[in-house]
């Protein structure tokens, strides 16, 4: 048997791209890493594997704690982690969702081609940057008050539809049609609402961005056809989350759990794994609060997308409808959801925690929107500014291997502090424009340096593994044209 060892943690090769850390000590289940040799080398460099091992100690964890091919060290649960816990005898863990609840990605299609945009990139990037709030303190697309925040938390994209910021098709092409019915706005603190009030419709900063992209490759014609993607087409990718409102909600519940369930926390190897026992008052409260934050994040991305439509109308002097600017899909990659999965022949309800992992339901799954049920759920994998992004579809093997999940991006390789020593924002911007024809505009040069293409893993390799395992199949690749960030 082939084995590998990193910092005293031994992995056994189960089959190609599947590595297992056998159950030992306090582990409740084994852990699995889905990676090629090259990606495993990178995953083994930081504390990802130890964090993954720690996650196997969550009460009620089922099957395996799983690290996706883009996994890297986070806090508590690793980024790129999937953990399914029993909703009756297990727990729900805010730290295993992450601070940015429903951080996610949406892609909007257009009928423009790259030729329609070439020569106008500078104008377009300037217009987007001027009209889409980003960075710290930039406000939001809409000015909101507490009543607005309450309505958004409660009703999700339905609110946006009523206020003229969405059309019906935006709802039918979003996970859960853009509304989590389990949302409980009263479980979200006043502090969180105060933070969210000034940020509704804003990108934030860090790795969040908005990109105009062109489709460069199509790998599966039938699925691409069902998704409405073809070579040379212009699309828009939006990557952001629930902003300060979601960050505060995670913080609030970590502290509440620490105070109320200290006995459970004391059994866990990392405070950031803080978990509320299934069925407890706090588990219900957190689930309601998290679902409300999910709604907020969907509205956040919806407002940005609708504002992009308005920007395109001005730049191209046509209505957005005439440019067919329709939502392809919206995926969440920091989330926990009650889902039904078959485990050892038995159907069970589980909290599936996806922290830096994307739901990847295959064709035929009832939760895939009807528009895509015959081909599988679209998955959007954002890459770096220099490497492009991918559209995948939920693969047939995802339910068996990963509780219906795949990767969420390229995954970081280099720390932000090191990135700032190695790259200079303006140089990165100039090189991307001159060598790659990618126009970048950011609030902070430091953010450009921290997000330089060289700080990420090879997204092609991440997607190759996902495709080969059959958890998320390659459909199309896109490449940046314009990028704005905070």
């Amino acid at each position: 048997m082939t084995t590998r060892e990193f910092d005293g943690i031994q992995l056994e090769r189960v089959r190609e791209f599947v590595w297992e850390i056998p159950k030992e000590g306090d582990m409740r289940v084994p852990a699995r890493v889905l990676a090629s040799e090259a990606l495993l080398e990178e995953i083994g460099e930081d504390k990802t594997l130890q964090q993954l091992k720690n996650a196997t100690q969550l009460p009620g964890i089922t099957g395996h704690a799983i690290c996706m091919p883009d996994g890297h060290q986070g806090y508590g649960f690793p980024v790129g982690g999937v953990g399914a816990t029993d909703t009756e005898n297990g727990c729900i863990s805010p730290g295993s969702v992450g601070y940015d609840i429903n951080c996610g990605v949406r892609m909007m299609k257009t009928n423009l081609t790259y030729a329609d945009v070439q020569g106008r990139e500078a104008e377009l990037v300037d217009a987007l940057f001027a009209n889409i709030p980003s960075g710290l303190g930039g406000g939001g697309v809409v000015e909101s008050d507490i009543d607005t925040v309450e309505a958004v938390l409660n009703r999700g994209v339905d609110w946006a539809l009523e206020e003229g910021w969405a059309v019906e098709a935006d709802l039918t092409h979003c996970e859960d049609e853009g509304v989590r019915p389990d949302a409980d706005p009263s479980a979200v603190s006043q502090k969180a609402k105060d933070r969210g009030k000034n940020q509704l419709g804003s990108l934030g900063s860090g790795n969040h961005f908005l990109e105009v992209q062109r489709v460069t490759d199509v790998y599966r014609d039938d699925v691409a056809g069902a998704y409405g993607l073809e070579p040379d087409q212009i699309v828009v990718l939006i990557h952001c989350g629930s902003r300060g409102l979601g960050h505060q909600t995670c913080t609030d519940y970590l502290r509440k759990i620490e105070k109320r369930h200290g006995d459970l926390l004391a059994q866990l190897p990392d405070k950031e794994l803080a978990a509320a026992p299934a069925g407890s008052e706090l588990a219900e409260e957190y689930y309601g609060a998290m679902c409300a934050c999910i709604n907020f994040a969907w509205v956040n991305r919806q407002l940005i997308m609708h504002r992009v439509r308005q920007v395109f109308e001005r730049v191209f002097d046509r209505s957005w409808e005439s440019m067919d600017m329709h939502l392809l899909y919206d995926v969440a990659h920091n989330i926990a959801k009650k889902e039904h999965h078959t485990v050892e022949g038995e159907e069970r309800e589980l909290y599936v925690h996806r922290k830096g992992a994307t739901r990847a339901f295959p064709a035929g799954h009832p939760e895939v929107p009807s528009a895509y049920r015959d081909v599988g759920q679209p998955i959007i994998i954002p890459g770096s500014m220099g490497a492009g992004s991918y559209v995948l579809r939920g693969g047939e093997a995802s339910m068996e291997l990963t509780f219906g999940s795949t990767a969420h991006g390229a995954g970081r390789l280099m720390s932000r502090t090191q990135a700032k020593q190695e790259f200079w924002g303006e140089t990165v911007q100039d090189e991307l424009r001159e060598q790659n024809q990618v126009y970048v505009k950011a609030q902070s040069g430091a953010t450009v340096a921290e997000e330089a293409p060289g700080v990420y893993k090879d997204v092609d390799e991440v997607v190759r593994v996902s495709d080969a395992l059959g958890i998320g199949d390659k459909v199309a690749r896109t490449y940046p044209v314009c990028n704005i960030k905070g």
Binding site: H72, Y75, G76, L136, G137, D194, R195, G244, R416, Q443
Partner: protein, 136 residues
């Protein structure tokens, strides 16, 4: 008192020292500001606040969380942090102040939250040391 930003794959860590707990916590808070902004201008008014928690680590967590909250709600970057920390019965108390630079005056980026991950607060030969990972 001093701080240093330390590498972390996805996020940023702050290592800080001070002669007492108040200085050390304030140094971590200055590290939080440094993680958001490279150049600190001289503008802004000072503001004060008090935070109470059941333990020292919880106090540092809640103190930094409050600074992030004040940043978003006041629309300022809290810098030049000052703090005193004391034990009061069953809880710990920090009385803190910061100069809040209007966000319009700086080119700053977001730190989403403070984390407990790898958090350390330890007494050292010359005072105290603390280590905190921030979620970016």
């Amino acid at each position: 008192m001093s701080y240093e930003l330390r590498p972390h794959t996805a996020d940023v860590a702050v290592a800080a020292t001070g002669t007492d707990l108040g200085e050390t916590f304030a140094a971590v808070a200055d590290g939080l500001a440094a993680a958001m902004c490279d150049r600190i201008p001289e503008t802004g008014e000072r503001f004060s606040f008090t935070v109470r928690a059941e333990g020292l680590e919880a106090l540092l967590f809640d103190y930094l969380d409050q600074l992030i909250y004040e940043r978003d709600v006041r629309g300022v970057l809290p810098v030049d942090n000052e703090a005193t920390v004391r034990e009061a019965g069953e809880e710990w108390v920090i009385e803190a102040s910061a100069r809040g630079i209007p966000l319009g005056d700086v080119s700053a980026r977001d730190v989403k939250a403070v984390t407990y991950s790898e958090m350390r607060i330890e007494e050292a030969a010359a005072g105290w040391e603390a280590y905190v990972v921030l979620d970016v």
